[in-house]
């Protein structure tokens, strides 16, 4: 079955869903701790993409923190590189580095740069931050994997604002052309970007129709912050000969009441008081 699906069923997964949800809670706390300590960073889009990253690193992807350069590992490219705090939290909880690195997030000589740096941070497969490039690099990885007979799968998370970049669509065209069924593009569709909503800044139109028209096999997840739905989408078998595109309808700032759905929390760190409140809420 290929084409377009809406995920809403609860399927079986390898790891207990509650355990994954607890990891997601911890990563959200990490995001707050990191950005508050640095006094800078992007909490909004990190909080919206947390379930996707936790699901990938704890359940879906074949990765080993003790062997982070293993050529057979699955690859992940955070195309929306500014959501680095969510990636760093996930990598840390998965064991790629220790929590002490959070103190050096965005600091001189730290491995946790403002945007992911593959030269500095274990577990980071590509340096990103210049929007549009990550998905293109992921297409290259998937093509390279096919070329070399590497059976790995390549995952990338892109933003909805990022999808205004033409390069996203150049990369998509190439993914379909080269029949990259070893590639999964995940759209963190929280609807907001720096200057306002997507519709205010530059409307994406019918993103599902666009993805289908570009030759993707498309899955839409009604609630991209629901771990069960995210897992079901990620575990749906690949459609032979087609790249996969998963639309995660998410909430920017998810989990922190005063950040949820707020444009202003795209690239602003919480102060000490706000961080304390956020952590209290996340303790739930």
């Amino acid at each position: 079955m290929c084409g377009y699906y809406v995920i809403q069923l609860i399927g079986g997964t390898e790891m207990d869903i509650q355990t994954l949800e607890s990891y997601a809670r911890q990563v959200r706390k990490d995001i707050i701790i990191m950005t508050a300590a640095a006094g800078a960073g992007h909490p909004g889009g990190s909080l919206s993409s947390t379930e996707a990253m936790v699901a990938l690193y704890f359940d879906v992807m074949n990765v080993d923190p003790k062997d982070d350069k293993n050529p057979d590992r699955d690859r992940f490219v955070l195309s929306k590189g500014h959501s680095a705090p969510a990636l760093y939290g996930t990598l840390c909880e998965r064991g790629f580095f220790g929590r002490e690195e959070f103190d050096h997030f965005r600091q001189l000589h730290g491995i946790l740069q403002g945007h992911p740096d593959t030269k500095k941070c274990p577990g980071v497969d590509a340096s990103t931050g210049s929007l549009g490039q990550g998905i293109s690099i992921a297409v290259g990885m998937a093509l390279g994997a096919k070329h070399t007979g590497n059976k790995c799968h390549v995952y990338t998370i892109i933003g909805d604002g990022e999808s205004q970049e033409g390069l996203v669509w150049e990369a998509s065209m190439a993914a379909a052309h080269y029949k990259l069924d070893n590639l999964t593009v995940i759209l963190d569709h929280n609807g907001l970007q720096i200057d306002g909503t997507n519709d205010e800044v530059m409307s994406l139109g019918d993103i599902k129709a666009k993805a289908l028209a570009f030759g993707y096999d498309v899955i839409e997840v009604k609630d991209g912050n629901d771990m069960k739905q995210v897992l079901d989408a990620l575990h749906t078998p690949a459609c032979p000969g087609k790249p996969r595109y998963i639309i995660l309808n998410t909430l920017k700032g998810k989990g922190v009441s005063f950040m949820e759905g707020q444009v202003g929390w795209h690239g602003k760190a919480p102060n000490a008081e706000q961080a304390a409140q956020a952590l209290k809420e996340l303790e739930g």
């Binding site: 740096d117 210049s130 490039q133 293109s136 990885m141 390279g144 590497n150 190439a174």
Partner: protein
């Protein structure tokens, strides 16, 4: 004298390299017949990837492929070094990925397509990127050497090639980062790169006829630049002239200036494209228009001695 376009040599070199190294893959953006990667495409169809008319995407795809242990050579026109600059910078150079760029049709000798297609800034753009090796072969033989060397360098390499058929000289010793002394001299030194070697040689001959004994040094590597050789000839000749088919801003002239300032230089003149765009025309007419022929170069040097 045999003439061959450096882009043709680039295409031949890729075919040879492809035979020796199975990790080499070639990417193009619908210009295989112009960049001359079509030879590789024919010889190794399974290792050639056309990325369509999407140069930026080609560069990031190459970046991704390099992480799988491949050695991608990306080819397009040199003028697009600006179009996909962000991808070269952030996608390849920032992570120090092992991607090569063989960009052709550089400079005004591209000819008739005009100023929109004549790259006079690509060397400047590439030199400023940390970790980028910048190679500008002066003839077909040097291009073979550049391609072979590029595959052995772990990291990004830019190779600038030309459309026009130009003289093929006897092979010279080749080490990345080392200039070649073409002719020794004591009255002044001419530093050149790329296809301007033909016109610099003619200028040196004219100067010799007028009793001026000019040294001529050709630099196939603009980065890392052979500062030592530039300084040796500055100490010896004191009067330095740089010749390039590129803007006088950010190219060979500036690489030389940075190397020799404070090292006893008495006279220094950069001869190239003077902060202006090119235009349509036959290559030889364009060289005359921008005062880059042998006699015009000789005249400028004589005036400044």
């Amino acid at each position: 004298m045999e003439k061959k376009a450096i882009r043709v040599a680039y295409g031949e070199a890729l075919v040879k390299l492809g035979e020796e190294n199975s990790k080499v893959v070639v990417l193009d953006a619908d210009l295989a017949g112009a960049t001359m990667t079509n030879g590789f495409k024919k010889a190794y169809p399974g290792r050639f990837y056309d990325c369509g008319i999407a140069e930026a995407n080609m560069v990031d795809i190459a970046a991704g492929m390099s992480t799988m242990g491949l050695i991608p050579f990306c080819s397009t026109f040199a003028v697009f070094a600006g179009r996909n600059y962000d991808q070269i910078r952030n996608g390849v150079c920032y992570p120090k990925f092992n991607v090569k760029f063989g960009f052709s049709h550089a400079g005004i000798t591209l000819g008739e397509d005009g100023g929109s297609h004549q790259a006079i800034e690509d060397i400047a753009l590439m030199r400023v990127l940390p970790g980028m090796t910048v190679l500008v072969p002066s003839d077909a033989n040097e291009c073979y050497q550049c391609v072979e060397a590029a595959a052995k360098i772990e990291g990004p390499v830019y190779i600038r090639t030309s459309r026009l058929a130009t003289p093929v000289y006897d092979p010279k010793p080749f080490t990345v980062g080392k200039g070649n002394v073409i002719r020794d001299g004591a009255d002044c030194a001419i530093f050149t790169c790329g296809i301007m070697i033909e016109h610099a040689l003619e200028a040196a001959d004219i100067l010799a006829e007028k009793g001026v004994n000019a040294a001529l040094v050709s630099f196939h590597t603009l980065k890392p630049f052979d500062e030592e050789l530039a300084r040796i000839y500055t100490a010896k000749c004191r009067k330095i002239f740089t010749i390039e088919e590129h803007s006088v801003i950010g190219g060979l002239g500036d690489a030389v200036a940075s190397a020799i300032i404070g090292h006893g230089v008495e006279k220094f003149l950069k001869i190239g494209i003077n902060d202006e765009f090119g235009q349509s025309g036959k290559p030889i007419d364009l060289l005359k228009e921008y005062e880059l022929t042998g006699p015009q170069i000789a005249e400028k040097i004589l005036k400044n001695l």
